[in-house]
Amino acid sequence: MEIPYTVKPRPDTGLYNAKVGIWLFLASEVMLFGALFSSYILLRVGALDGFWPDVATAWPHGLLNIPIGTFNTAVLIISSVTVVMAWAALKAGNFAKFQKFMMVTLVCALGFLCIKSYEYNEKFTHYVIRLKDGTAVTGHLDIDGHSPRFWTLDTVTAKKLASVKVHVDVPNQFRYPVGMKRPEVAHEGGAHAEHAAREIKTSDITFLQAFVPATGTFFAIYFTMTFLHGLHVLGGALVLGYFTFFGKKMWETDPERLTNRIEVGGLFWHFVDLVWIFLFPVMYLL
């Protein structure tokens, strides 16, 4: 006996095996990301009152680059459209058209991951520095024109630097959610304060860390969720890419099977897109 319904749908359920399988798998994925979103809520609700970075365990706002995030959202949505069109092309019996649309999907996936890596790198070169007087600043280190990643206070002392040059951010930049009116803050340096360079003595520093997962629970959940999402993008792209470049043989022997696989891969791709549709407002805007 052969395994039935691998390609043709079972009459009473109306589904072929892989379609049942992918929906079940997506249900478990909902629980996986659901648990992480729940953790986000619990951590955020449990964060201390006050403003980050002055209060280390307060919840920071507006840390992420919204235009880039919006662009990336658009990239993923476009890829979700093209993945459907690729499937429709297969349904219409046009393999070349399928490949064309699928290439767009793959380029979008790659683009998304590149942009995400750029964003990560931006965070890894961005620092929070706490000083002996109890204040905290954020900004980019400037070590002989370089902007180093992943430094800590130990790195600075190990390199025996007497002081570090910091391009300080606008004070109170990370206090308010998007859309909330920010009070005018008078600060030294006027309009160019954003990149005002400031020399900070190493002896004044009590804490120095890049924006890495260990910096706070916001960073921890942001990196965990977006990294896990990125892995899903990568995995989905690898599978879809495999069928794009090596699917020709199956198309010639068993076109319906290939079409089904693209449908199932497409369902997964939509789910990955959907997760991002939630991640974007939750992480970037709220």
Binding site: Y5, L15, S28
Partner: protein, 602 residues
């Protein structure tokens, strides 16, 4: 199959050219098999080995509890040599070793022994046969499940031998303890525990997807939902529990991994201080978050442990009472009810976290509710015995013992489900007695029953009845001698997880008889180990010496698994089976035999 035949010459097998079928080599037949029966056997053997290994860890711990501070006999010097002085100086079990063994005993028994045996082995072997399917829906995914399970187990075992030793924070791995234990080692036992768990969880998820799809899609013609054997229903609900409850633990595992390796603070609160001073982390996390995510899995996991055993027991009871199961439909609905309620009872493990009376009351209520479907199933099985002409063979003895043992385990759980009485009993030996009654003489007896029951189908030979009955009688006696005294110890206030058996805290002026019970328990545990020897001998010797089965249906059973050739070939059924009737048509009035198989027309 057909494609394999046509391509056979190109594979270059010079010998056996006359064979019609392409005979797979050793690796593809035994290691990288995609046949559900071989995968079931792989799961079965691996999990039985883990079951025995988990039992040995417990024996070492029991020895320490009965004779604290004395060198372990036989294995003491070996442990001292392999694990070092921190763990077993001069062969004496140190606190760290006790903690590591305790954590790994729980982990191994739950995730590497019972679930793989109940779901992986029995589910894989029996489910496709019972629904009349040629294989699982996704055979290669099935192979991947087993291999992920195997490597998850290998990572767990490897963790014993790394600096600092295996995970020591209990199978529950509560933060911040789990994160701070061995923090000076970047790769410590807890890290490997988490990596192992991620592999095991992935394995279970793939398995669950596969099982549910198989049951939905591959039922034979005529196999309607209400004609499914109860065993299949039990596996179906178990599949959903694994599918939906495990991912939150995977998320939690990833977060704890980040806490351990990337030094994040998901589960570490602000201002955390240990003996070594303030812990250098950002803080802001929540230890309670771990507990919520952990128990969101771990309570449904209890039903993952018990439901397949209930399924096995139901098949065996129907078969050996020669009667239909009493209340088959109510049992099915009860199983579905358990499946639903299992997701909303988890926080009864957390009454002592101070989560507030309102939430406590909610979870107390749902906990009482979930006992109703459990009792329905148990009652239906008891009533099924009524008026039957019972055959007392070995599988039936184990199945019968399951009923009162699971009953004791379940009923002793009620005081733990009420938050008032739980405050006193929490974290005491009473809890250990309770859940071991459910899992050890409960589930494990159910699974032993299954091994004796389906062995003739898998091998074509019976296991020895005499050895089986010795195994049963000894195990039944010893299980009770081990776990019943724990209720007494717990009620007297003895805490769990104390590596000296509580003598430091408990020895002064308190009834010494309570501590003496430790000796009774330990001796019974050793005896229990000895009574497993007949089983091991029986299991292997019967492969060659067992009595051969007279037919494909040696127990005169009704379900489709007994309608296949023995042992079932690749593809299972000679002709496509068609189902004409319900699963338990025993002793039908007017019929010529006392059973009618599901595939028998008319």
């Amino acid at each position: 199959m057909h494609t394999a035949t046509t391509h056979a010459p190109s594979h270059g097998h010079a010998h056996g050219g006359a064979h019609d079928h392409h005979e797979p080599g050793f690796w593809s037949k035994y290691i990288f098999s995609t046949d559900h029966k071989m995968i079931g056997i792989q799961y079965g053997i691996t999990s039985l080995i883990f079951l025995f290994f988990g039992f040995l860890l417990m024996l070492a711990m029991r020895q320490q509890l009965a004779y604290p501070g004395k060198a372990l006999p036989i294995v003491g010097q070996f442990l001292a040599k392999t694990l070092g002085d921190d763990m077993a100086k001069d062969g004496v079990m140190q606190a760290d070793l006790y903690n590591a063994f305790g954590a790994m005993h729980g982990t191994i028994m739950v995730f590497l022994a019972i679930v793989p045996l109940a779901f992986g082995a029995f589910g894989n072997y029996v489910t496709p046969l019972q629904i009349g399917a040629p294989d699982m829906a996704f055979p290669r995914l099935n192979m991947a499940s087993y291999h992920l399970y195997f490597w998850g187990g290998a990572v767990m075992l490897a963790s014993f031998f790394i600096p600092g030793g295996a995970a020591k924070s209990g199978w529950t791995s509560y933060s911040p303890l789990a994160t701070l234990a061995d923090r000076d080692h970047l790769v410590n036992g807890q890290t490997l525990w988490l990596i192992g768990m991620v592999l095991l969880i992935t394995s279970s998820l793939l398995g669950a997807v596969n099982f549910i799809t198989t049951i939905i899609q591959l039922r034979a013609k005529g196999m309607t939902w209400m004609r499914l054997p109860f065993f299949v229903w039990a596996q179906f609900v178990t599949g959903f529990l694994l599918l939906l409850a495990f991912p939150p633990l995977e998320a939690a595992g990833l977060m704890q991994l980040a806490d351990n390796v990337l030094k994040t603070s998901f589960f570490l609160p602000t201002g955390l201080v240990t003996n070594a001073g303030p812990v250098p982390v950002s803080g802001g996390g929540s230890p309670l978050l771990w507990q919520y995510l952990f128990w969101f899995l771990a309570h449904p996991e209890v039903y993952v442990l018990i439901l397949p055993a209930m399924g096995v027991v139901s098949e065996i009871i129907a078969n050996n009472t020669r009667k239909p199961l009493w209340g088959y439909k109510s049992m099915v609905y009860a199983a579905l009810g358990i499946g639903f309620l299992a997701f909303i009872v988890w926080a009864h493990h957390m009454y002592l976290t101070g989560m507030g009376t309102k939430i406590s009351t909610f979870f107390q209520t749902t906990t009482m509710m979930i006992s109703i479907p459990s009792v329905i199933i148990l009652t239906a099985l008891f009533i099924s015995l009524w008026g039957g002409s019972i055959r007392f063979n070995t599988p039936m003895l184990f199945a019968l013992a399951f009923l009162p043992m699971f009953g004791i385990g379940g009923l002793t759980g009620l005081p733990l489900g009420f938050n008032a009485s739980d405050i006193y009993l929490h974290d005491s030996y009473y809890v250990i007695g309770h859940f071991h009654y459910v899992v050890a003489p409960g589930t494990i007896f159910g699974l032993f029953a299954g091994v004796y029951f389906w062995y003739p189908k898998a091998t074509g030979r019976y296991m020895s009845e005499i050895l089986g009955k010795i195994h049963f009688a000894g195990s039944f006696l010893c299980m009770n001698l081990i776990f019943a005294p724990m209720f007494v110890q717990g009620l007297k206030g003895m805490s769990r997880r104390m590596y000296d058996g509580g003598s430091t805290y408990f020895g002064n002026g308190v009834d010494p008889a309570i501590l003496d019970l430790n000796k009774t328990i330990t001796h019974s545990a050793i005896l229990l180990g000895l009574f497993q020897i007949p089983f091991i001998v029986n299991f292997f010797l019967s492969l060659w010496n067992g009595k051969k089965v007279e037919s494909d249906n040696p127990w005169q059973a009704t379900t489709l698994d007994w309608q296949t050739p023995t042992p079932p070939p690749h593809g299972n059924f000679a002709t496509e089976p068609v189902v004409y009737r319900g699963p338990y048509e025993y002793s039908v009035p007017g019929a010529s035999k006392d059973f009618i198989q599901q595939g028998q027309p008319g």
